[in-house]
Symmetry: C2
Subunit: 340 residues, 2 copies
DNA sequence: AGGTAAATGAGGTGCGTACCTCAAAAATTA
DNA sequence: TAATTTTTGAGGTACGCACCTCATTTACCT
């Protein structure tokens, strides 16, 4: 049988009350008692029964996803994943909420975060760009014992913060290598397209992309990043102009998660079956485009994994456990028509 | 507050005992009572508290992985993953065992399975080839309320059976497309290597590979599958002979999870930086080879995901829940040097 | 109608842990 | 040494549910 606290008390030669004091770090315990209990824990292999703990504490986990107000297809996928994660988690006392707001406005984000009450929320997955205001708000949340996971948005290298998402430099490098290999040593120029270059994600992806192209595919060269600002007309114009100026474009790299606007503009400038195009994120549109060979590859971060990973981290933090790191690394997926 | 069984009883206008009878499908309940309780469940949004259920049932989950006796690096990875899954699961009352035996011997497998006792094991993840004996043993296990997940070994399309693993036809197709694209329209021949062609996995991978090459890359042609039987000398001999007979080999596809033997043989016959080589599974050897460009891509099924997925399915079955399917699909990962 | 079987309710116990109170024992201080 | 503080133990209740018993009610049959 699995040892219980009773067994532990007996093994340690102390009372149940003392075991309880040690396990829950209550005051007024002698160092000797602590040692006795900890030794016994190791000796008999005691493990807290989490089900019983949660029952006794009558604890529920309330987590909140803070997501952008307006978004592309990828955001819809995320919402769907959050939704489908909800049901099975309910029976484990996890309740998941979603708030959407203008994440580009640091004050709005900070205001929301500081309005959260300890008895309403005990963990936040935050998908918003880094700013002094939000950084400060996050620290104050932590002080109130509400943990925060940075979710899919660029602060991978912040120490002391949990992060869920891919390494965007590596993602860009992966895109670069795919294009380089698919082009197989021929010369040419690569068009690089994003919504806005101000996004951390785009900067990092571009960095990784350039590095790989320069190092490994010297016959290829990269054009400056084109910014669509999500505007089809503008996209059409700048892409057309770029193709007019550069007759040797062999590939395009779409760095932002919304592929439709740039891809349609591209289709008016070149034969997409010849042009090598790599885009980001598995959205219905991108999937479709991959199937009919308008896209050649998709670099994706699985939204379902991301959601579940964030929730696991928040749960671990709430339980004062270490998150099981290996499981939480979001992989950079490469999708071709065959492994969709 | 979360509704409890007490609330449910009140809402349904029945006693706690009747609620209990309905929830746990005990006999002697009228259809009317069942309906009243089920209506109330929906009406007040009752959800069983799994922690309390498990506590009251004093239930532990005992699962067993049945794995091959001798194996390659991939098997070591699997074992490591099982090991590291164990610790965090212990606090959730899940105990994971491993048995290794000669899975090629159907009698041995069947014997082991039928020796399992309901009070010792309540779920098995079975990594063994299909055979009438094992199939029968699995059925008899199911009768004794021990559920079985077929684990990473080729029975994907069996109905009524849980399966964890990748679609090997799609995996082969993915390898084919990578090689085709990396070769970029040039002509040539592809060497295909495996340990033994009798493995279901190899057959399916070959099938998917051939299909893609024939349909999409008509300038390429595939040679008959070479079998190493895991023997370096034999590998050396047959590969050397193949390269002697075919001067236009541009690529090699290593279908079996152990990459070392074929790759070393290949290195004696061609310049690996020119030859396009795709192999299976992320092992330390394959990773290394990918980094220094002896390999061009790895097709992988994440062993950690596979292990956790199998455990989740077994847990769901034990709880008489439906496994949360979307989460359990093992992805076909493509690894390049940049997204390792 | 009486007899029987089926359905229901009331009430209890236990699962492993958290959290509380109170009294007693031990250690520390004056 | 006495007074005080700290540490410890004994014992209880609660969490939400499963599972059990027994008495009572209801429905069904002849």
């Amino acid at each position: 049988m699995r040892p219980t606290t009773k067994d532990l008390a007996k093994a340690a030669g102390v009372s149940l009350a003392t075991v309880d004091r040690v396990l829950n770090e209550r005051p007024n315990v002698s160092a000797r008692a602590v040692r006795k209990v900890q030794d016994a824990i190791k000796r008999i292999g005691f493990e807290r029964n989490l089900a019983a703990v949660n029952l006794a504490r009558n604890r529920v986990y309330r987590f909140l996803f803070v997501l952008p107000e307006r978004g592309d297809q990828y955001l819809s996928e995320l919402l769907a994943e959050i939704d489908s994660a909800r049901a099975p988690l309910k029976s484990e006392l996890v309740e998941v909420g979603v708030v959407r707001l203008d994440v580009e406005d640091p004050h709005a984000v900070a205001n929301l975060l500081s309005s959260l009450q300890t008895d309403e929320v005990n963990g936040v997955a935050l998908m918003a760009p880094e700013s002094p205001q939000t950084r400060d708000a996050v620290l104050r949340l932590n002080e109130r014992d509400i943990s925060v996971v940075h979710f899919l948005s660029g602060q991978a290298n912040l120490e002391h913060h949990d992060f869920v998402g891919i390494d965007n430099i590596a993602a860009g490098a992966t895109a670069g290598r795919l294009i380089g290999r698919f082009n197989a040593g021929r010369g040419g120029t690569i068009a690089i397209i994003t919504e806005t270059i101000h996004a951390q994600d785009s900067l990092k992806r571009r960095l990784g992309f350039d590095r790989v192209i320069h190092q490994n595919f010297p016959t290829l060269s990269c054009l400056p990043t084109l910014e669509t600002h999500g505007d089809p007309a503008r996209a059409e114009r700048i892409i057309k102009q770029t193709f007019a100026n550069h007759r040797d474009i062999v590939a395009a790299y779409i760095m932002s998660p919304e592929g439709r606007v740039p891809l349609e503009a591209l289709s008016h400038c070149a034969d997409l079956t010849d042009l090598i195009v790599v885009a980001h994120e598995r959205t219905p549109f991108n999937e479709e485009a991959l199937r009919d060979e308008r896209l050649d590859a998709i670099i994706a971060q699985n939204p379902g994994h991301a959601v579940r990973s964030a929730l696991r981290i928040l749960r671990a933090r709430r339980d004062r456990r270490q998150p099981f790191a290996a499981q939480e690394k979001i992989r950079i997926e490469i999708l071709l028509a065959d492994n969709l």
